[in-house]
């Protein structure tokens, strides 16, 4: 009885809470200084052997998902829960202020919801072109209708917008717009505009009349044994650009070594190929997420915010009252 009482006293003590926070601070700083989530070989190439061993043994390369972090977070949860409960139980004291405990409650909700989120969150990222289809479940899918790239007058990206249609069994087609900072809900899945890429390419025709497509960075072998790599396409400014004004830079390669840089226009030849057409297409990077824990984290945030506001107000009143009494 005496031991369990002492144990409970220790578990809910502010001293233990502070030791755990200090431990969390030290380990978090170390984890922030070590690049997270890389392959084992990255650490082997960049750190001394002994440090690599420690990193991998303690899962420091994925610290915030490691057992060590979970244990510390779990202990903080118990310490905070017991301390808050004890404070609430002793609330008859005249000096009792409930608002810091509301903040504690919010932190507890966030910690618990964080665990739920780690266990239940599902996330998939896809690069998609206009016209492509993605099945969200057996009964629902989305179709990428249109990709829109808004630009500032100086050509820099202003917004990336993906227009999709959502189809579900026994339901009407829904048109949805997804843009940066404005995700959309398709069924139970939230879709985020996460990335964007402009792909450039050329259509090349060989001497037999066969046509191949080559995108930037791609390599194509010619009949003479040489290779050509498409480096860049130069599109002049303007909405409608005549084909003859577009040029493409190729690297001519032999035995994997660059032997020349050649720029040609539509209709001109390189290594036996004739450049027929240039293309510029956009690709959208969408993130598909379901996270049952996030609503509870948001609830925790609201609880903390209200606790902070009320603590702030009550503290200010107390200080002002004290100053009034002193004067």
């Amino acid at each position: 009885m005496q031991f369990s009482k002492r144990l409970m006293g220790f578990l809910r003590s502010a001293r233990l809470g502070m030791v755990l926070i200090v431990l969390l601070i030290i380990l978090s700083i170390l984890a922030a200084l070590i690049p997270q989530g890389m392959e084992d070989t990255f650490y082997m190439n960049n750190f001394p052997r002994l440090i690599v061993k420690s990193i991998l043994l303690l899962h420091f390369h994925r610290f915030f998902y490691s057992g060590l972090f979970m244990i510390i977070a779990g202990l903080i949860f118990f310490n905070l829960a017991l301390c808050t409960y004890q404070r609430f139980k002793n609330r008859r004291f005249k000096s009792y202020n409930i608002w810091p405990d509301i903040i504690h409650l919010g932190i507890l909700v966030i910690l618990a919801a964080g665990f739920v989120s780690i266990l239940t969150r599902k996330e998939s990222f896809y690069w998609l072109n206009a016209g492509e289809k993605i099945h969200l479940s057996n009964n629902e899918y989305i179709l990428i209708e249109k990709l829109e790239f808004e630009k500032y007058p100086d050509g820099r990206a202003k917004d990336y917008i993906t227009h999709i249609s959502y189809f579900a069994k026994n339901a009407e087609k829904k048109t949805i717009m997804i843009r940066v900072n404005k995700p959309a809900l398709a069924g139970k899945i939230k879709i985020y505009q996460q990335a964007w890429e402009e792909k450039q390419g050329v259509f090349l025709e060989n001497q037999n009349g066969e046509v191949s497509q080559l995108t930037t960075g791609g390599v194509l072998g010619s009949a003479s044994g040489e290779h050509i790599m498409l480096r860049e396409i130069y599109f002049p400014e303007g909405i409608t650009i005549p084909d003859e004004k577009i040029s493409a830079l190729f690297f001519l390669m032999r035995d994997k070594r660059k032997i020349a840089e050649i720029t040609i226009k539509t209709g001109e030849k390189i290594a036996g190929f004739t450049m027929r057409q240039t293309v510029r297409t956009n690709q959208t990077g969408l993130n598909f997420i379901t996270d049952p824990g996030e609503i509870f984290v948001l609830a925790g945030i609201i609880i903390i915010l209200s606790g902070l506001c009320c603590t702030y107000a009550s503290k200010t009143i107390k200080i002002l009252k004290k100053q009034g009494d002193n004067s």
């Binding site: 984890a31 964080g114 100086d154 940066v180 997420i289």
Partner: protein, 257 residues
């Protein structure tokens, strides 16, 4: 042009701060100059906001102007209510001056560029402004902590300890709400996750935890003690590292310049 003029005024204010140290009383002219610098910095931010059509807090240059202006505002408010502690006002305005000077570093561009798509959000203003207002109070608490360490008079020490505490209880909720909570809500709408353990997020959390320790130490022992003062100093150094160090040394989603 405006920041350069403000910089010249800042140099003058710092010199007046040194004069105030010898007179053991803050000079009114120094405070007036700090107020003019505050107005110039805010004016420049408003000008940039009108051009950009969103709150101008999208790069380090603008963040520095705002941060420095907020520290000046805290100094001015303190002067209005106390009219003393020349050393405290000098050290805090010197911190503000050093931060302001960094805006002219070759590493920091003052180019007026429209923001990238991810920064076009209503949360930007709440997230950045509240964080820096909170950190401005932390800066004043840091100045007061340094002052505490050089003081010998116990009565004065008690008073300065109270100032540190009041600054931290003013800055803590603003920093927590702006830096952590509104940041998490914004990350949720931009990236689909509330928290991603990005270096900036980790160091913001660490800063929050250090000030949490400070508040709990104060709750445990009501009397002034030097340990809480050291914690206050550590907290501000971490806040500064979170702002500058993470931007330039640790790559991540927040490594904007």
């Amino acid at each position: 042009m405006i920041p350069a003029f403000a910089f010249a005024l800042f140099c003058a204010a710092t010199i007046l701060g040194v004069v105030g140290l010898f007179r053991r009383k803050p000079l009114l002219l120094q405070i007036i100059l700090l107020a003019v610098i505050f107005l110039l910095a805010m004016g420049e931010l408003v000008r940039r906001s009108i051009i950009l059509k969103i709150p101008a807090m999208t790069n380090t240059f603008e963040a520095i102007l705002f941060f420095s202006a907020m520290i000046n505002l805290v100094i001015i408010l303190y002067y209005i209510f106390s009219r003393r502690d020349a050393f405290l006002i000098f050290i805090t305005s010197f911190i503000s001056y050093v931060i302001f000077t960094l805006a002219f570093s070759p590493l920091i561009s003052d180019a007026l560029k429209p923001p990238i798509p991810a920064l076009r959000s209503g949360w930007l203003f709440l997230h950045v402004s509240l964080t820096f207002v909170g950190e401005a109070f932390f800066a004043f608490a840091f100045g007061a902590s340094v002052y505490y360490l050089v003081l010998k008079d116990e009565e004065k020490k008690k008073r300065i300890d109270k100032i540190i505490y009041h600054c931290i209880i003013a800055g803590y909720p603003l920093f927590t709400a702006g830096g952590l909570l509104f940041g998490a809500i914004w990350a949720h709408s931009a990236w689909g996750r509330l928290w991603g353990w990005d270096p900036k997020e980790i160091f913001s959390l660490v800063t929050f935890l250090v000030y949490t320790i400070y508040l709990h130490l104060k709750a445990m022992s009501k009397t002034a003690n030097v340990y809480t003062v050291y914690v206050s100093i550590l907290g501000f150094l971490l806040a500064i590292f979170t702002f500058f160090g993470v931007n330039f040394l640790l790559p991540g989603l927040h490594s904007y310049r």
